[in-house]
């Protein structure tokens, strides 16, 4: 039997990469704002306490962490404080923040765990408003695009509790590919959106060319949300119009208010993943690696394609600057036109100020600066498309080029603002707090189908869809029992035109 060749990364290769990175940095190929000592931090609008102190900050890291680690030392020095930063994966945030809230040791500034209703954080008294700490907050808020700050989302009782510096107009399942491997397979994703058949064929050819050294496609399969993200977004591209966000938005078709997990588009997306496996195009071992591990293997030449987000751009730019890759939109089912993707109104990466924090003046001063055009330009120059700055003018002035600029253009073209039930009725937040994703979740069902532990795509997705319907019905029922004025009709938006943004005027029409 022919022995498979293995990809070998020698120490010499690693050294070469490190030297190349060093050379590029010294040549100034990376924006100069990446380096400390170059932020022009303005004086505070009003005197800050002179008592100093230590400000603790936790968020989901990635490129945010890269930026904060440059800015924080400078900012801390300019204000006479220290800043302790923890940039952790969401999985860790989801564990640490609830425990810290429970025992009263949560960071001064933090992100809420995924899916947690902000209304609960406010009503429970975990957070305090930023209004007292951001000077001229009304003027400051006025500089943000409309729809970023909304009652029930980040504003409560007339005060701003959550601050957003970044837009949520992005997807986490772009086609990122090795230019070399894709070209050798005879495909150019830049020529137009690839179809499922083309993806499958390209993956087969890359795997064949790899001859055991590399494979067509890779995914961080033990990070279960990756399966759901791919199927959800691919389903949307295929025409399953639905919302994004937590359990009470995701997978719901706002035209009829029903989950569409069992739709043809979702099934086709799941089938594509299973076909990539049955074709032998999937990287061996995807089930025992998480998304960052899978991402790290791409520049090492282990696979030709991965469906991930624009956060890869910054990481690869830093870790493998010589590696040539491309970014393209998600594939479309054969014979179909790509349909829009939807985001809810509001920003992303919302920062909350702990109710116990005594560092509010400093946190407010820093957030205020980061919301200014200059702060947003700094952000965009470092973070790029990974977490796009929320101010479009600042993004334009940041002078982004290459994959970052391409990704932002792609998102602008593909993504629309869809309806958000919580903007329509803030009591939907109570439902969110009551809701529980049923076991097994869609993410786990897809994982189970992939591993072969579950059989029958259609039957499994239908069962899953029914579980989700029942879970939402139950959460609505419990919320109503607690006095919430909410029904399943709050998820039905009959005036939703799936080809245009759903703005304030549409809500007024309801």
């Amino acid at each position: 039997m022919k022995k498979k060749k293995e990809l070998k990364i020698s120490r010499r290769t690693v050294m070469k990469g490190a030297l190349a990175a060093g050379a590029m940095m010294s040549a100034g190929s990376i924006p100069s704002k990446l380096f400390a000592g170059e932020f022009n931090i303005p004086d505070p609008l009003k005197p800050l306490p002179t008592t100093g102190g230590n400000m603790r900050w936790i968020d989901s890291g990635d490129m945010k962490g890269v930026f904060w680690k440059k800015l924080f030392p400078e900012y801390a020095a300019s204000r006479g404080i220290t800043i302790e930063y923890d940039g952790l994966p969401w999985k860790e945030i989801n564990k640490i923040v609830p425990i810290a809230i429970r025992n009263g040791t949560v960071h001064d500034v933090f992100q809420l765990p995924i899916g947690m209703d902000p209304g609960v954080a406010v009503s429970e008294g975990w957070v305090q408003p930023w209004d007292d700490y951001i000077e001229n907050i009304d003027e400051w808020l006025g500089a943000f695009p409309s729809g970023v700050y909304l009652p029930g989302v980040n504003q409560f009782n007339g005060k701003t509790y959550g601050t957003c510096l970044t837009a949520n107009k992005r997807t986490g399942t772009c086609l990122l590919y090795s230019e070399k491997y894709m070209s050798e397979a005879g495909y150019d994703p830049q020529a137009g959106r690839m179809t499922y058949s083309e993806i499958r064929d390209a993956a087969k050819k890359i795997t064949k060319n790899g001859n055991g050294q590399y494979y067509g496609w890779i995914i961080g399969g033990n990070q279960v949300n990756r399966w759901e993200d791919v199927v959800h977004t691919f389903g949307q591209v295929g025409g399953a119009h639905s919302g994004r966000g937590g359990f009470t938005n995701r997978h719901i078709n706002f035209q009829n208010g029903k989950f569409q997990i069992a739709s043809d588009q979702y099934m086709e997306a799941v089938e594509l993943l299973l076909q990539l496996k049955s074709d032998g195009s999937a990287f061996p071992g995807v089930m025992s690696m998480n998304a960052p591990q899978a991402r790290a293997l791409m520049p090492q030449g282990a696979a030709g394609m991965i469906f991930q987000g624009p956060w890869c751009i910054g990481v690869w730019g830093r870790d493998a600057p010589d590696w040539k890759y491309g970014i393209a939109s998600e594939p479309v089912p054969d014979g179909k036109e790509a349909q829009p993707l939807y985001i809810a109104e509001g920003g992303s990466n919302t920062f909350w100020l702990s109710a116990n924090s005594t560092m509010g003046p400093f946190a407010g001063d820093l957030i205020r600066f980061m919301g200014t055009e200059q702060g947003q330009i700094y952000w965009a120059q470092t973070v790029g498309a990974a977490d796009p700055a929320v101010n479009p003018d600042a993004v334009a002035k940041a002078g982004l080029t290459g994959p970052s600029a391409q990704a932002l253009a792609m998102f602008a073209e593909n993504i629309l603002v869809g309806p958000n039930p919580i903007v329509r009725n803030k009591d939907v937040g109570i439902v969110a707090a009551k809701s529980r994703v049923p076991d097994p979740s869609l993410a786990l069902v897809i994982q189970g189908l992939y591993t072969g532990q579950l059989k029958g795509v259609e039957a499994q997705l239908k069962d899953c869809n029914q579980r989700y319907e029942d879970a939402l019905d139950k959460a609505v029922e419990e919320a109503r029992a607690d006095g919430a004025n909410v029904t399943r009709d709050d998820w039905v938006f009959p005036n939703w035109d799936v080809y245009s943004n759903y703005g304030a005027e549409k809500y007024q029409e309801l």
Partner: protein, 304 residues
């Protein structure tokens, strides 16, 4: 004789009680109180960190016993125990017998080597093992392929059929040293004159071990089995770091199940501390039941 009143007895033994007090307070704070509170929380519909907590009686227990994933995890925990404890006991005994031999000059070296994984942080071992068993350039697969034992890499931790045996193997390797130490301690209680007398009587080889040594160390075996069994039911850090219970629940044991329901999941909904406590209490009672059974078995064996 007139018996002293209780208050007088306590007063007379006041120094004893005083010395017991710190330990009692600490036990109360860190053992009794948490156990009591987990019983109480198990009766609540509570996320664990909101003010809202509704008393729902035994509903969490009802839900748990009707949840197939609960029972799958429950059974998997026992599969883990029955799959690892006998292997550890037998292997540990064989190694201890060899290393108990005074003639073997390198015995201390081998003891140290076998004991080394015991003192290594379990989370570190878990993470390192994910690389060791990686199907892409992992040393385990490299070895198997270079020796032509397999033609394609095996996804040890990503395949539902291999994940649990792999984790069990790592667990045995990690803790084998401590089992060996227990056995060594037991073997060293056998007096030298027993060996000498056996030899004079012509008992050698397996007969010496089966008929002379084993009956002497049997009571120790019961204790070792008890300790090992309870240890094998507490494998949270190893499994969390190696597989987090996946793929698709294949390695989800009870502790992972409890952890998953007690905290916000990847799916992004509120945690259920009340429910997790109910599952934990149920599990705790099951482990206690096994411990009591083993205790009874130990008592009976001692009588024999």
């Amino acid at each position: 004789m007139h018996k002293k009143p209780l208050s007088k007895q306590i007063y007379d033994a006041r120094w004893c009680y005083l010395f017991v007090l710190p330990c009692s307070i600490l036990t109360g704070m860190f053992v009794i109180y948490p156990i009591g509170m987990s019983w109480y929380f198990s009766l609540l519909d509570w996320s664990g960190f909101t003010k809202e907590a509704k008393f729902i009686g035994l509903q969490n227990y009802y839900e748990a016993v009707n949840d197939e994933f609960f029972w799958d995890a429950f059974i998997r925990s026992f599969i883990f125990m029955f799959g690892t404890v006998p292997v550890k006991i037998v292997l540990g005994f064989i190694i201890a017998v060899f290393l108990n031999n005074q003639v073997l000059k390198l015995a201390p070296f081998f003891r140290t080597v076998i004991f080394m994984p015991v003192v290594t942080a379990i989370a570190i071992i878990g993470i390192v093992m994910t690389f060791v068993f990686s199907p892409f350039n992992g040393p385990a697969n490299k070895f198997l392929m270079s020796t032509n034992l397999t033609s394609a890499p095996i996804d040890f931790l990503g395949n539902p059929d291999t994940v649990l045996p792999t984790v069990m193997g790592v667990y045995v390797w990690k803790w084998l040293g401590i089992t060996m130490m227990y056995w060594l301690a037991a073997l060293q209680t056998v007096p030298q004159d027993v060996y000498d007398a056996a030899k004079i009587d012509g008992a050698e080889g397996y007969r010496l071990w089966i008929h002379i040594i084993l009956p002497i160390v049997l009571p120790f075996a019961i204790v070792i089995i008890l300790v090992e069994a309870v240890g094998a039911l507490n494998v949270f850090p190893l499994i969390e770091t190696m597989t987090a219970g996946g793929p698709f629940f294949s390695s989800e044991v009870m502790e992972i199940y409890i952890f998953r329901t007690a905290f916000v999941t990847d799916s992004g909904t509120m945690p259920r501390l009340g429910y997790a406590c109910a599952a934990g209490v149920f599990w705790g009672v099951a482990v206690l039941f096994i411990t009591v059974l083993q205790g009874l078995w130990m008592r009976r064996t001692r009588r024999i």
